[in-house]
Symmetry: C2
Subunit: 161 residues, 2 copies
Amino acid sequence: MSEQRDRAQVDVSLLLRRLTVELDAVGQRFARAQGLNRTDVRALVAIMDAARSGEPLTAGRLGEAVELASASTTALLDRLERVGHLRRVRDEEDRRRVVLEMSEPTMAAGAEHFGGLQRDLAAGMAGYSDEELALVARFLRDMTDVAGRYARTTDRPDAPG
Amino acid sequence: MSEQRDRAQVDVSLLLRRLTVELDAVGQRFARAQGLNRTDVRALVAIMDAARSGEPLTAGRLGEAVELASASTTALLDRLERVGHLRRVRDEEDRRRVVLEMSEPTMAAGAEHFGGLQRDLAAGMAGYSDEELALVARFLRDMTDVAGRYARTTDRPDAPG
DNA sequence: TGATTCGTCTCGATCGTCGAGAGATCTCAC
DNA sequence: GTGAGATCTCTCGACGATCGAGACGAATCA
């Protein structure tokens, strides 16, 4: 493996990091505009994603998704519900559970903000052919897999076995 | 623009978001391992990046980088300094300023953790030719620019111009 | 030298997060 | 059915991260 090749790989790694920083800033901006904090936005995004996939989130699942303790999840939902970003609805099938429904205005605001980003991103992709885009997609999937595996690896450097 | 093309672009956008989530989780994992919170890790990364670029951060610049008020930045530095992750050093040129130096162990831990990720990412890139990697790099740069511009756009929907 | 600006820190208050545990509901063996 | 235990969410009290306002020393400039 040549030095130049090594360098290219490191460059791409750094580019991935820079990209995540910028995309994070977009979420941050949405948060400020809505008077929310980072966690709130992560939660709303998770709820929106779940709704889109047709499998609405419950309080507990949301807590897992955003890695929050149950008490914190309750507080989070209280905040979001109080300002009208979502509704809590008792699940009729399992009445212990609470399913989360985003409000229309919030859904619209999210679509406005993140849809705008998506539009800009799509515009930025205009210069790429279908084949190039397919390659990029494959690459992103690969890197996501790698990162996901790495994040979930139990690699405690200090702890034994 | 065909529907298939539209779909491909949306797919890539979603892939970008999934990737950021996974990469974020890697940072999260490092945070837990070191007993830090998200902000602390962002700060350490910013300090490390600055040090690498040969232009060490000051307290104020760090505050800007992680978007924290000055009082919060002071508290952040107190935390990190107390557990030995960095040192505050008075700038001799401008004695109002405080420049930040990361400790060796923390630098090593960071290199261990994020270096490991970088190794895995590089391994994941093995299947791509130099030309393909160059294309990916160009794409990532483009998307980073778009996201950066979008994040910095003043598009307050409510506030007047 | 005095006035002003700049960079950081202190103070008090607010809000997000957590662990522990309560209460309601579901599951399952009997 | 009924009771035991698991599951899901919420309440409570405590802690910590963040903030705005303002103090203080240091630099700048007239």
